[in-house]
Amino acid sequence: MSDIVISHHTLTCAAGQGLGALSESLNKRLSGLTENDFPGCDLSTWIGRVKGTEDIKFEDELEGWESRNNALALLGYMQDGFSEFVTSRVKEVGASRVGIVIGTSTSSIGRTEEAYRHLDANQLFPPEYVQKEVHTPHSPGAFLAKISDITGPSMTVSTACSSSAKVFATAARWLNSGLVDAVLVGGVDSLCLSVLYGFHSLQLVSSNQCRPFDEHRDGINLGEAAGFAFLEKRKGEAGELLVSGYGESSDAYHMSHPHPEGLGAEMAMTRALEYAKLGSGDIGYINLHGTASRVNDSIETGALRRLFPETTRVSSTKGWTGHTLGAAGIAEVVICLQALQTGLAPGTLNLAQPDPGLSFPVMQENENLDLNHVMSNSFGFGGNNCSTIFSRVAPSGSNV
């Protein structure tokens, strides 16, 4: 009986570059959010910006791949020995037998915005912006293929905020069907004017630090992140982490407002439990979508109430990272994986006064928990929902 094993993973976000920095931020309750200083954006808000993205150079082989999104992807890929790990596994497995599935919502649109600012007299991109593999939705998938030397199928999933959760579902299908023997999955989304002004136009952005589930929450903060995981189909050994299940659904309600009764959210969580053959009582911790928007947070706890015992510990970690949109899936999955490995489940930052209207208790403080199975929720525009479940192989070698 084979498992889908996560052989390696990494995350770079406002709360830190790599797992060590991330853990420190989570443990010390240090938010990565800062007051908006994104160039060209005069909105009064807080953002989850990854410093160091601007220092990445695109030289030699990487010439022509310039974009903030690709810079962040490269920065993230180099953390935690992930690049070296992939290189060695690809050599063993065979480059054409490894796949790539990356989630994104921004892709490299920041670079396209820049190209438009420099259009020539004929309204055309100047030569340095004529980057055929960058100004497309597939930019991150193409870039990862370039830097990893993987030659198997490479696909980008772009379903707004559920993108880099859904990559786990596609990867599991690819592995179980024998299409590939390993998959590099992940997500990369970067700050850009489109999302800053776009979410502002929808009146979804807070001018303060976001406060998920708080009585006085008043909107989201935008963030950026690059995270990756390497998945293989084999028997998981003691202590290893597995992809146990996924559940996907559509709200069929509205492009930018979730189903008022959380119908799609409930379906996604239910389907994930069914796939994993677990009961709701088996889930020790759930990392919620918890964006700090007025509507998401109340609707999400309503769905939790219908499915989970109140003993299930749940939190939102967007107070550390901001809402990283297409990378929210992978960011929060990695936080879940860290929780499984370390036993430390992060609480919810900036949650001073939980909204009395919430239907489910949400963790404020960090807690030490002995976790076997965890869940992560990601719900996106278009009513696109994905819940994923991860498990730790017990010391005896069995999945609890």
Binding site: C41, S96, S105, I109, T112, E113, A115, Y116, R117, Q123, L124, F125, V130, K132, E133, T136, P137, H138, G141, A142, A145, T151, G152, P153, S154, M155, T156, V157, S158, T159, A160, A169, T170, A172, R173, W174, S177, G178, L179, L193, S194, Y197, G198, H200, S201, L202, E248, S249, S250, A252, Y253, M255, S256, G264, M267, G380, F381, G382, G383, N384
Partner: protein
């Protein structure tokens, strides 16, 4: 992976639906005048108000989806969704980039939420009350078509789903021509079902897909496909050989590039 095709849809220059596409394939004529007639899709499952506000790309994809779904005998609510586009909505990207220069605080919230790559899938699900999973994907121009088939087929194979697959790309605004020169908007749609699981309508054909074919050399010219005299410069046109076989009910033996080192073979069983 094996699957049946239960229904098909097609919208492009010179054909507004699957029947017209079949006639064009049948006629075996090259009709250059077709290229100058851009498709005008009218997705009837969307409300009048939504149709007025929806982007062109959304209307194209949803209209093609309607055709395939209706032909399949399945109701929309029974089908998982795979929507695939190489360049996505370059019209709205053009709008956003220009608005950001001229007056960023006047960005239209509707246009912004319509800019997500999964907008077409979202509108389809909303208009037809579909709660099944939806995905919106992309690959490189050369590989997008194959990856779309793989995503749909693997959902059939692994999740046991019947799947609505829509592949589409639209004419880009002139500033984008340096990235990819698409000469006509085009959409193809298919309903894939696990073999043996049909609606009341018999499937068009059953197919077997082999994704373990190593690519020996670059033997496909992607983006510009000729079939029965039809020629379109559009990544979606990589599906033309397959769609032509389905339209003419002939032997299916099609190969598509899936990655730098892999090919996808699709044959009739």
């Amino acid at each position: 992976m094996k699957f049946s095709i239960s229904g098909a849809g097609a919208i492009g220059p010179g054909f507004a639906d699957w029947q017209e596409f079949c006639s064009l394939v049948d006629s075996n004529e090259s009709d250059d005048s077709c290229v100058s007639i851009p498709p005008s899709p009218i997705p009837l499952s969307m409300s009048k108000r939504e149709r007025a506000r929806a982007p062109y790309l959304v209307k194209l994809a949803v209209a093609a989806a309607e055709q395939a779904c209706a032909a399949s005998g399945f109701s929309p609510g029974e089908l998982a969704m795979v929507f695939s586009s190489s360049m996505s909505d370059t019209e709205v990207t053009d709008y956003m980039c220009r608005t950001l220069i001229e007056n960023p605080s006047e960005m239209s919230p509707t246009k912004f939420h319509n800019s997500v790559h999964n907008a077409a899938a979202g509108y389809w699900a909303i208009s037809n009350a579909v709660h099944k999973p939806a995905t919106a994907i992309s690959g490189s121009n050369q590989h997008s078509a194959a990856l779309a088939l793989v995503e749909a087929a693997s959902q059939c194979d692994q999740d046991g789903s019947s799947v609505l697959l829509v592949v589409y790309d639209i004419l880009c605004p002139p500033s984008f021509n340096c990235i990819l020169d698409i000469t006509s908007s085009l959409a193809f749609a298919l309903v894939l079902t696990p073999v043996g699981r049909n609606s009341d309508i018999a499937p068009i054909v059953s197919l077997e897909m082999d994704a373990n074919v190593d690519k020996a050399e670059s033997d496909m010219i992607s983006g510009t496909k000729k079939a029965s005299g039809l020629s379109f410069q559009n990544p979606t046109a990589d599906l033309l050989p397959l769609m032509q076989c389905l339209a003419s009910d002939s032997m299916v033996d099609v190969t598509l590039p899936m990655s730098a080192a892999r090919r996808l073979s699709v044959v009739r069983i």
